[in-house]
């Protein structure tokens, strides 16, 4: 059984090694400060008790007030996993350091998060859109992207009387 290192546990370990790097922790994940991300990730990958050498997934979540980039990390050799998060608060220009230099597997996943969520990964070697074409207007996975260009709405109308007015996003 893969051991899950709880958010509080991983936060404690990071804090011991790199003081001031942890912003908060919930049972599932520890939130790390963006400016310390590279240092924390290198520690997580190289620490002999953690050996989190495998980035299972990198994804972004729109929490409305801020964006969250979530990293799921696995250690194949020690059969354990954990998750860390980074917040990007500036909705107009969310920026998070790239972890591609640490885990090359992050390359395409960061490009996907940039493409669909509009998060800029600083230090990424080749940050281009991956699914959509260059020049596509907007970041479609953001929660405020409900009206597509040309007035199309994603999904079906499910609730009677549901307003189809734009929710303050781009129109």
């Amino acid at each position: 059984m893969t051991r899950t290192i709880a958010g509080l546990d991983i936060a404690h370990r990071i804090e011991q090694k790199i003081p001031g790097a942890v912003e908060g922790a919930i049972p599932e994940a520890a939130t790390v400060k963006a400016d310390k991300l590279a240092e924390v990730c290198t520690f997580l990958r190289d620490d002999p008790e953690l050996k989190l050498e495998f980035l299972s997934s990198l994804t972004a979540v729109d929490q409305l007030e801020y964006f969250e980039v979530v990293y799921h990390l696995t250690s194949i050799r020690l059969n354990q996993m954990t998750a860390i998060k980074v917040k990007a608060s500036d909705r107009e220009n969310p920026r998070v350091p790239s972890v591609t230099p640490i885990w090359p597997g992050a390359n395409l996943q960061e490009r996907e998060a940039y493409d669909l969520m509009g998060i800029v990964f600083e230090g990424h070697p080749d940050l281009r859109r991956v699914f959509l074409w260059d020049g596509f207007d907007g970041w479609p996975l953001r929660k405020d992207y409900l009206v597509g260009p040309g007035g199309r709405f994603p999904g079906l109308e499910r609730f009677p009387g549901e307003s189809r007015e734009p929710l303050g996003g781009r129109g």
Binding site: E28, A29, F54, V70, G105, R158
Partner: protein, 328 residues
């Protein structure tokens, strides 16, 4: 005399028989050697994440069929496990075994396709792939018995499976797994030492174990590089902790080893199926009282072993507790 060459760019795809889907590669060639490749994806991007935002948990299951339409069962399972973990639902024993059986049948069907088409692309035009399609059809017949569909199955449910298998399913499955080892011998005789396949794939596209792990490679590709890591063993789900099987690993991490690992995995799937068909208990196939959408908080996901590698869905419910979408 030295021949002066210079690199040039060729577009492979998006419509090309060997890309198996709409996918484009911009290749930089030096003579016949590929020195750089840039992939252009998204021609078939269906934006399932955005679609899923507006739907309930159960309504999302059919989308997971279509993420990999050659392994719909596994996609279903990875998703419903994530929802079950989020909502704290434990499916009944029989459902767990049915899931295991379906996923292993799916692995056989999918690996048949992978190995057959690989041989096809190497130049063994049509013969091997037709043999493998023949056997894949038999697996699809079993799926049709179980759920009425052959490709996009929509079989798994939150809390179990959509319906129990009919009485004729088990004998048919037993008959199939009895025949399969003979068929696998046939494939191996036909392909393993075939000179064209060996010449075209040995020593090509080598990934060392370190490279494979750093690049987040999983599944048969990672195992072909010699890393014996299989999520079915490392973090068992469904009934995988109750069956005995071996992890197939390669040595060189090249294309040939990936092909051999897939052939070996089909044998292990047969081994799992033999045990599962004997061990499956009677009982309910779904926790029908609790197999509903329920609001939950937190975030959850659980990896499952897809045919291409680890397959996991991450679900982040909205703060309203029901739909991960802002409603004003």
């Amino acid at each position: 005399m030295t021949v002066q060459t210079e690199p040039f760019v060729v577009n492979l795809g998006p419509q090309h028989p060997s890309t198996h889907g709409v996918f484009r590669l911009r290749l930089t060639l030096d003579g016949e050697k590929i020195i750089d490749a840039d992939m252009v994806m998204g021609y078939l991007h269906r934006s399932m994440e955005k679609l899923a935002e507006e739907r309930t948990y159960t309504q999302n299951i059919p989308f997971t069929d279509r993420t990999d339409y050659l392994a719909a069962m596994t996609g279903n399972l990875a998703y419903v496990i994530a929802v079950e973990k989020l909502c704290g639902i434990e499916p009944p024993e029989r459902a767990q075994w049915l899931r295991t059986i379906m996923c292993e049948l799916q692995r056989i069907a999918s690996h048949c396709m992978a190995v057959g088409i690989f041989a096809n692309d190497c130049g063994a035009w049509q013969t091997p792939v037709m043999h493998m399609l023949r056997d894949r059809e038999k697996v699809l017949d079993l799926f049709e018995m179980a759920c009425g569909a052959r490709l996009t199955l929509n079989y798994m449910r939150i809390g179990g499976v959509s319906r129990d298998v009919p009485p004729e399913f088990m004998p048919a499955a037993r008959k199939l797994i009895k025949e399969l080892p003979k068929k696998l011998n046939e494939y191996e005789d036909l392909l393993l030492e075939n000179e064209i396949i060996v010449e075209r794939s040995r020593g090509i596209g080598v990934l060392t174990p370190e490279q494979a792990m750093a690049h987040s490679v999983s599944g048969p590709m990672l195992r072909a590089s010699g890393v014996a890591w299989d999520i079915r063993k490392a973090d068992p789900y469904a009934a995988y902790d109750k069956v005995d099987f071996d992890i197939a690993v390669g040595v060189h991490g090249d294309v040939y080893d990936r092909f051999v690992v897939r052939l070996a995995e089909m044998r292990q799937s047969v081994k799992i199926l033999e045990q599962a068909l004997d061990l499956i208990p009677e009982g309910a196939s779904a926790d029908s009282d609790r197999a509903t959408d329920r609001p939950a908080r937190g975030a959850a996901g659980h990896p499952a072993a897809g045919r291409r590698g680890v397959w996991a869905y991450r679900i982040t419910p909205g703060r309203a507790g029901v739909l991960p979408r802002e409603r004003r």
